[in-house]
Symmetry: C2
Subunit: 220 residues, 2 copies
Amino acid sequence: MRQGGPPRASRVDDVNARSTASLVGDTGRGNEAAILNAALAAFGDKGFHGASMRDVARGAGTSLSNLYNYFPSKSRLLAEVLRHANDELVTRLHVAVDDAGDDAVSRMREAVRAYVRFVVDHQLAMVVSTNEVRYLAGEDRERLVVDRDATQAVFEQIVEQGVASGEFRTPFPADAARTVLSALAGVAQWYRPDGRLSRGQLAEQQARYALALLESPLAR
Amino acid sequence: MRQGGPPRASRVDDVNARSTASLVGDTGRGNEAAILNAALAAFGDKGFHGASMRDVARGAGTSLSNLYNYFPSKSRLLAEVLRHANDELVTRLHVAVDDAGDDAVSRMREAVRAYVRFVVDHQLAMVVSTNEVRYLAGEDRERLVVDRDATQAVFEQIVEQGVASGEFRTPFPADAARTVLSALAGVAQWYRPDGRLSRGQLAEQQARYALALLESPLAR
DNA sequence: CGCACACGAACGACTGTTCGTGTGCCAATC
DNA sequence: GATTGGCACACGAACAGTCGTTCGTGTGCG
């Protein structure tokens, strides 16, 4: 799925600190990481069409033409940014779910927590992911849709498990999972680091909302 | 709040039919309605920065320069589109809530139903509203934020009423209301007219999710 | 040598906006 | 009733700037 380069670190466990973490770590290719992070910042700030390649170059501290030594076009650059963001999210989700208990309530709670933590840590990536995906075309778009379905599948599967075990009573598990994800994606749109709730409190709150929405009888 | 021109029709009761209703009816000013609707279509299709004034003119069946006889700039055109969309939504919400019973559960259910119906009837308007607001600046932006707060206030008030009366048990009513709204706004992002659920079923389903999220003990 | 990375300059296309002009309708004036 | 003025609406052409992308060239390392 991913081509060469050293593995991207996605350590979910060193969970504290850094309010502004860069999404993409060193890739082993010159300025690639700086370009990707600058593109994320530019697209997040002005939107895909509102940001120019010159903006990206300036943010990355390199020249305009040099961008094309790394990415063949602006839309491929967007695609790569979104792929990095989605990879990080999916990785965090799987780690969180695998580390959770066997019951659906625990797994859902951990999944929501991990999602919220991702939103807080990489809000810009989340905003770009939801707002700019539609500007992708062709196979870049299709691959992203597939990858996004993987996220949805994690939640769907947990809901189905919970419905089967009686932990959740919601009908139409797939629709309920999608609604939970909509609420979570919405967090990225209004979250502010100086808000009333801490990262942990926000995650806890969203987990409660999700479990309530799924009609978990014994959810606290 | 609104300046001149004949009142816009917003009849919530003739609830059937038209899968593609135009958001803006005749305004009494030449081609204004056609321009606004074309702008909505263009911004919805390509995004604010991706769509050009020439696209809007083509869609409205008029000339590029004529647009400036109606709107002084592209961003003011966006602002007017968003204002029409928000006015329609707020009107529908107030009508629905006023027509509902006195208890919070009924009022919330009707508010959610009205919201979903708006999303279905004017999906493009909803998508543009959520995705392109951030490109507004100055007082256009501020006015839109105020108007959007009015929508949130409707939901917040119902949640608070329900918490006070014991119909809802969720803590932090304002946060819960915002989460419900996030889920509803999300509907506009994935809804397809040829989907499995009818408009009414979708509204019903979202109402159930909302009431469950608010921890309504006797919600069905 | 070749390859990865870096740069400035330039291209043609497209951008939002303005300008000058023209039309036809409605009300005021002769 | 005819003439006038003004206003709302409409158009093509043009402007100055920005866009994504390409080209040619250069450097330094393996």
